[in-house]
Symmetry: C2
Subunit: 405 residues, 2 copies
Amino acid sequence: MALSVNNRFSRIAGNMKRSAIRELLKLTQQPDIISFAGGLPSPESFPVEDLQEIMVQVLKEHGAEALQYGTTEGDVHLRELLLERMRKEGVQAGMENLVISTASQQGLDLMGKIFLDPGDVVICGSPSYLGGISAFSAYGARLTGIPFDDQGMRLDELYSVLKELKDEGRKAKFIYVIPDFQNPAGITLPEARRRRILELAEEFDLLVLEDSPYREIRFEGQPQPMMKALDTSGRVITLGTFSKIFVPGFRLGWVIGHEKIIEKFVMAKQTADLCTPVFLQKVAAAYLDSGHFEKNLARTVDLYREKRDLMLEGFRKHMPEGVTWTEPEGGLFLFMTLPSWMNAEKLLREAIVHKVAFVAGNVFFADNGGKNTIRINFSYASKEENKEGVERLAEVIRGEMKNHG
Amino acid sequence: MALSVNNRFSRIAGNMKRSAIRELLKLTQQPDIISFAGGLPSPESFPVEDLQEIMVQVLKEHGAEALQYGTTEGDVHLRELLLERMRKEGVQAGMENLVISTASQQGLDLMGKIFLDPGDVVICGSPSYLGGISAFSAYGARLTGIPFDDQGMRLDELYSVLKELKDEGRKAKFIYVIPDFQNPAGITLPEARRRRILELAEEFDLLVLEDSPYREIRFEGQPQPMMKALDTSGRVITLGTFSKIFVPGFRLGWVIGHEKIIEKFVMAKQTADLCTPVFLQKVAAAYLDSGHFEKNLARTVDLYREKRDLMLEGFRKHMPEGVTWTEPEGGLFLFMTLPSWMNAEKLLREAIVHKVAFVAGNVFFADNGGKNTIRINFSYASKEENKEGVERLAEVIRGEMKNHG
């Protein structure tokens, strides 16, 4: 007898949607499509050969311990190394302030789990990272997007939203910020805005979630201080990850925050997956110790800078008037704005016919905006594909313009 | 200014407790304590040398692909191999019925996430696995424990609970069963009871969660059919894991179930951690392909059988009258019942002074029972520790009896 399933699921399950991006990725994995769609690092950046050596070394040195259950908090040596890196960023944190996570996505999910009840408000960028929006929405949060200008989240808009909530006797749980080379906008928040967001968090008594996976992929310009480094009252929770600066396949990240908040993260992680693979943590630590990490990162930054330059050059050469784009100082993405009448989802269908893909920007807007925007990833495609893909994309856009009249 | 944190957390966070066992594990990790407390596999069972070879092989064969993001569903080849193993168990399932999980614990957590709203009833054994109880409780579930006899969950009690719920116009979401060498009781459900539980699930229209991490660690006797193999209507969701039959540190498990339920698991996993490390999935698949897996598993079963025998022999020799224990046909645990006046938590404090540790059984009872029970793990301690630990434990129990007069 066929089982009736649909009426059995929880409210949380009802809030979940298949990620539009991950579904799209399947479509764009056809080998003849040039994909600017995913957020994948370049496979050229993965230190495959170094890792062969280091893995054998870790198994020789640590043997069975590397294959056993580990503590939920994470490998002590890896955590020490991460704290040391954080100190160089001006973040003073101790072991009680850091837990290893199964990459940033787990940090986002557990952030939702430990802070959000149905109806709670989360402030995010408009646009913002889809994986964060989905994680918070699943717990029933109401996402309120703050529009961007060319320096990121607009502070006047942020203030009005917070003020309005306060006047209604409500408040947001936290402000979700991706300060460095934002996904999807490619914009970096200047120090002054970071400071002002923290002041507002203080004034309205909110937490700030700083999600910074691309920070170390900087091509040029001055790094702005981490928000955690500016945090004097313990309001900032920072998510870090090795996904973009080492390898994504290890699923290794970390969460830094107030001791009592990290304690809750640890409890939530116990229930979620007990611990992150010890072996992979020890490999990452050994890779950091070996000195190869910094060399490989520098190589990756050079590679992505070249790819970005190539893409910007292609855009300047081939894109018709009326199309604009951000010029990120780092990271993996840039954001393109099409003429206001153009629908990016429709454009995408056309683009796939022409064997090039991107993500229609509307999925990054909690408030249904951004219908004429697209996110473009420049880290994954090879340089040849980069050139060819830009030409195909420009052609598809020009075609749309011609049809429009 | 010190941040006030406690009033910020979600209802779910309020339902979470630090795992009593994992906290205890820290205490018992002092090197001079003989620990029967954790649920750790023996490090002697880990194929450290084989893995050195296989890891290098996987990196050589798959290169960057093994280090990249993977699909949420999991590595196709590993899933095929698992489906093939399941077919040998009589489980007919296709790719759409199986998702790789970050070990069983993620399966338990996502089971709670996609099915449980606050106040929902889950039926479990009394006793039952703490990691399951915690995962479901976090989502606000009301756990209802069904008492055990020497064959596991009592069917008369199960029927009355289900009937009573029905009479109140309510129903449980699912029955949580650990059918093979149950943690903590060490008991295996006979086929007849498995069939009857499925009949009751049909009659009362419930799902069944079959959690079977130890199934392949059988020392003797006939395997009873998997509940999934007896499932004719798609009501059974089965959690499997490599933690006890290969290595726990890879955090690799799988969930098998109705296509629409697996679809929800995939969505929930997307939000939880995007994917499980591709590299570790490929290593596990290559290890299965190599044929080493079966050999190593047989070696592990032999090792644990020896350890169980040694422990039972020690108990028979040293335990005072009034103490009884289960004699499991497999798995990692046995369950001891002390005289009814004896408090296992108090005994544990005394035991730690005498440098031996176990888990007080009450943590496994959703209904505050089991105060005179203890769970004993026999897989982790070496044979020498096994002997010495049993003597110490018997001495502590005799001491309690003497004090009691």
